[in-house]
């Protein structure tokens, strides 16, 4: 069974994401003014999203059917490299998506 067919599971997981999303935004709204965020903690918190996103995107690009797929035939690697280069240069997300999907599709259909 995939998670999509399990309605109670969907309620719990979507509820969790919504709750975490709100509580993180409201975190300091609950705290008294005297509580400050120390600069060290602040800098540590900045690295957490990088790691969490990397943990999601790396398997989506570098694995296939539950095994690592580090080969020149893995089109997603080329597509992400091309898209990343476009984004780093232009900071334009739409251009990045178009180039990434174009490279992915062209290699896939070639």
């Amino acid at each position: 069974m995939t998670g999509v067919q399990d309605v109670p599971y969907l309620v719990v997981t979507i509820g969790c994401v919504a709750a975490v999303s709100f509580l993180s935004r409201a975190s300091f709204a609950f705290l008294p003014e005297s509580v400050k965020l120390p600069p060290g903690v602040q800098r540590s918190l900045r690295h957490a999203p990088v790691c969490a996103l990397a943990a999601i995107v790396a398997p989506a690009v570098f694995t296939e059917h539950g095994a690592s797929a580090l080969s020149v035939h893995n089109y997603r690697i080329w597509a992400v490299l091309a898209a990343g280069a476009v984004f780093a240069k232009t900071r334009n997300m739409l251009a990045m998506m178009v180039v990434g999907m174009a490279v992915f599709t062209a290699l896939r259909l070639a």
Binding site: T2, G3, V4, D6, Y9, T13, I14, G15, C16, V17, A18, V20, S21, F22, S24, R25, A26, F28, A29, L31, E33, K36, L37, Q42, R43, S44, L45, R46, H47, A48, P49, V50, C51, L53, A54, A55, I56, V57, A58, P59, A60, V61, F62, T63, G66, S68, R76, A79, V80, A83, G84, F87, A88, R91, M93, L94, M96, M97, M101, F104
Partner: protein, 229 residues
């Protein structure tokens, strides 16, 4: 503000398309998007939900991604601190990456109590983003349901997350965290329930903080200032 909202609309459409093409039924995707108002956390937890990963893992992953909001929350607090709790919570609900960046650019760090100018600007930006986001995400979900699965649009989710990730990687510790987490997440892909994901995040974060500590010690006479963007 206009180019920023255009980018936000593009990101909303991509998120909507990616959620449906990733495998969520249209109804679930609509509920998820409208209830969570979480963008990146929605995209990141999607693959976990699809494989029926344990819900605590989904929650922890969403927490890591949302930790940046804690910084935002601390950053804008002084402008709202004198308001009643209900109004502080309302301002928090509409918080997001774009409102925070716009507010910080306009006012810097508000050191004292906020006034009508702050609140007006904040809600102007935040409510605009709120509306633009939901309209574009719903449009993306509906558009996505029309596109054939053979187009491979589920890959758009990985590209969209990459677009969020790249601007965050601005220093050596972030690069180390990125590499360590990525390598471990790929190596542990067969671990049941995607628990390797959590281990990868914890190790990557640990590596980033360790490198940061070492680098700080080497440059110890210099007092670091924390950029706010």
């Amino acid at each position: 503000m206009a180019p920023a909202t255009l980018a936000l609309a593009a990101w909303g459409i991509v998120t909507g398309v990616a959620m449906v093409k990733g495998g969520l039924p249209v109804g679930v995707a609509l509920v998820f998007s409208l209830v969570a108002y979480a963008g990146t956390a929605q995209l990141a937890t999607l693959p976990l939900i699809l494989v029926h990963a344990p819900w605590p893992l989904v929650m922890v992953t969403a927490t890591f991604i949302s930790l940046r909001f804690v910084i935002f929350s601390a950053g804008i607090r002084s402008a709202f601190v004198r308001l009643p709790l209900r109004q502080r919570l309302a301002s928090a609900y509409f918080q997001g990456d774009l409102p925070f960046v716009l507010f910080s650019k306009r006012f810097g760090t508000v050191e004292h109590d906020g006034n009508e100018t702050h609140w007006g600007f904040y809600y102007g930006a935040a409510l605009t983003c709120f509306v633009v986001w939901h309209v574009s995400a719903v449009a993306g979900i509906l558009l996505g349901s029309l596109a054939p699965t053979s187009w491979g649009l589920d890959f758009a989710a990985a590209l969209a997350i990459t677009a969020v990730l790249i601007p965050m990687v601005t220093n050596v510790p972030a690069v180390v965290g990125l590499i360590v987490t990525s390598v471990l997440a790929v190596l542990t892909i067969r671990v049941p329930f995607r628990l390797g994901l959590l281990a990868s995040i914890v190790c990557g974060l640990g590596a980033a903080l360790a490198i940061e500590t070492v680098l700080d010690r080497r440059t110890s006479p210099v007092v670091h200032t924390v950029e706010t963007s």
